[in-house]
């Protein structure tokens, strides 16, 4: 009886582990043949650079989606025809928009990506300089009253430690 229960437990455990573990998506093994190493390099770079429109955050090299496969094939065709990396990227952008690029171009909509960090650093430096200035301004000699208080506190401390 106990053995049966144990087995049920282990089976349950195995099922839940299998269900909860997500296997990393593996791109299907495709073989592309190129005329030269340059083309192969271009194709390799393109599949890293082009983003799969269907799958939010994967490039077409990593994605297993049907559409990513189509785009890999199309990129391969175009590279094989002798098109440059820029030409292939342009081809994709005219169809899918800038979403398809992992290095977005400088446009009014994306300018914040470049200016944002710069503004942030400049703001930080500004606040720092201001802060340092006010701090140095505060360094004033003690008022007579404060001097007296300090002296009496020190005297008190000395007496306490002598005991």
């Amino acid at each position: 009886m106990i053995a049966v229960r144990n087995m049920a437990f282990y089976i349950g455990l195995i099922i839940s582990i299998t269900a909860l573990t997500s296997y990393p998506a593996q791109a299907a093994i495709e073989s592309f043949e190129f005329d030269n190493a340059q083309q192969e390099q271009t194709f390799y770079e393109l599949t890293k650079l082009l983003r799969c429109p269907k799958c939010q955050n994967q490039n077409i090299a990593d994605s297993n989606a049907e559409l990513a496969k189509d785009l890999r094939n199309k990129a391969y065709q175009l590279v094989k025809q002798g098109q440059t990396k820029e030409q292939v990227v342009d081809y994709m952008v005219t169809r899918f928009g800038n979403f398809v690029r992992y290095d977005p171009p400088l446009t009014p909509a994306t300018i914040f990506l470049w200016l944002g960090p710069l503004l942030f650093v400049m703001g930080g430096v500004f606040i720092l300089v201001k802060q340092v200035k006010t701090q140095t301004g505060k360094k004033q000699a003690l008022a007579p009253q404060e001097k007296q208080k300090l002296a009496s506190l020190l005297a008190q401390h000395d007496r306490d430690s002598e005991r």
Binding site: K54, E66, L67, D70, R95, F96, G97, F99
Partner: protein, 180 residues
């Protein structure tokens, strides 16, 4: 004086936080879906193509079919469950007199013909894009997609996903009415 400055300094991060929160919350509350992309072809003519009629292999169409009147171009496939869901509404729109061109995308011809016979055919013209050639040129990244095309053959809008009464009334009908 000093107190005022302190309050001001403390307010700055708070204000930045509020701006950031509004910036991030607006698309969330508006219910915009980040997986829906705007078409790169808005304001551009339908790309050139030559495709077969789905019922008749000998009949071919090109981009000229999109000129002369405003219409919808619906991209669908039998392997796409959402296409099944929206099919009834497409029939309804067709019955209201809308001109709808269907593009069967990367599909099996026999299955597609059976689908149209069984579920009624809302399309005036049915293109058969077996290899997804026109789909690629249109930037289709998932079926169903519906393009609104004016009488000059210019793409005015693309809707990705289920076309239903709510979507039509809330968004598409206004764009459709405004088109020439």
């Amino acid at each position: 004086m000093l107190n005022k400055r302190r309050i001001l300094m403390l307010l700055v991060p708070f204000v930045i936080f509020i701006i950031g929160a509004i910036f991030l919350a607006t698309p969330l509350l508006k219910g915009s879906d980040p997986s829906k992309l705007e078409s790169a072809l808005i304001g551009q003519p339908v790309p050139k193509f030559t495709l077969q009629d789905i019922f008749n292999q000998n009949k071919q169409y090109n981009a000229d079919i999109f000129k002369g009147q405003k219409m919808l171009l619906n991209v669908w496939a039998t392997w796409c469950p959402t296409c099944y869901a929206e099919h009834t509404y497409l029939n309804k729109l067709a019955n209201q007199g809308l001109y709808i061109v269907g593009m069967n995308y990367k599909d099996d011809r026999q299955k597609a013909i059976r689908w149209l016979k069984e579920l009624h055919n809302p399309y005036q013209i049915s293109l058969f894009d077996k290899s997804g050639l026109l789909g690629l040129d249109l930037g289709v990244y998932g079926a169903p997609e519906t393009f609104l095309i004016d009488s000059q053959g210019i793409i005015r809008y693309r809707h990705v996903g289920d076309l239903n009464e709510q979507v039509w009334n809330d968004k598409l009908s206004a764009i459709y009415e405004e088109m020439q």
